[in-house]
Symmetry: C2
Subunit: 162 residues, 2 copies
């Protein structure tokens, strides 16, 4: 298989956020594969991430895009192979990625405006689920205490699975 | 499907590490499912994570174990359903989890001592891959510049896929 991560000669120090509390192990990223880079990036942009770095390999015929809320924050690594590939949605061994946000209703509106369906609406003011175009489930949680229940979310029904 | 994340009434502030640079979106965790909680925890312990919190649900018949290098660091959420289940290994849409470590050779030894096979040995002093008992691929990278190539790693062959 193609080992896309080997193209960096070293890991730049600004790509991880080593805090004393991390001990000797620092979480860097979760890598997911994309069948359509533009669509996948559009999804994670709507979640609230932006591109922090990118690698392209002519030889390997792939693009890696790293996205995070800001440089130094934990990343999603999106691997896009230039030769079209289709793959099955995640099996049950892969659950989801989770993010906490300042205002879950504002985020739900932003996601809808970006054309992303809310599969599990934040009826309780604390949790919603959406899914990437490649089937990766993303949980979004309200930071701190839940917000007051509010329409249209409070009476919105679930859609599909997540 | 069981929505295991809904059992917390709110998200305790010590379960996320909101830094100013994170903006309004803070990465929390990647959730993976486990067919054998003890085996999966043993694996992530060898990677360098420890249990930071745990939820058990008698009604839902599941256990959630959160593991991180330290409290407040990004977590892996391990979902274990008490009723035995088997599931396919991850499809290609799920790539891997990645961590940076202070000393990749020390980590490789610790993994071997824990009985975990190094699938892609750190021949280059900068990268190795292992796989969880549930098939989740984990990339481990040397922080900063690669270490000098060193035996037995330098001449160790790849095993399987990752």
């Amino acid at each position: 298989m193609r080992m896309s991560s080997s193209i960096s000669s070293y890991l730049p120090s600004d790509t991880y956020n080593s805090l004393p509390k991390d001990g000797d192990v620092t979480y860097l990223h979760t890598m997911v594969r994309s069948a359509d880079l533009e669509k996948t990036m559009h999804f994670f942009q709507a979640v609230g991430l932006r591109e922090t770095r990118r690698k392209e390999s002519e030889n390997g015929r792939f693009t890696l895009v790293f996205m995070a809320s800001a440089p130094g924050a934990p990343e999603v690594e999106i691997t896009y192979n230039w030769d079209p590939e289709t793959f099955a949605p995640p099996s049950r061994s892969m659950g989801h990625l989770a993010y906490a946000v300042d205002d879950i209703y504002a985020k739900a509106e932003a996601l809808q405006e970006a054309g992303i369906e809310i599969l599990r609406p934040p009826r309780d003011g604390k949790m919603m689920f959406v899914k990437s175009p490649d089937g990766i489930s993303v949980e979004i949680l309200q930071k701190g205490t839940p917000l007051e229940p509010k329409e249209p979310w409070a009476s919105m029904q679930n859609v599909g699975t997540w």
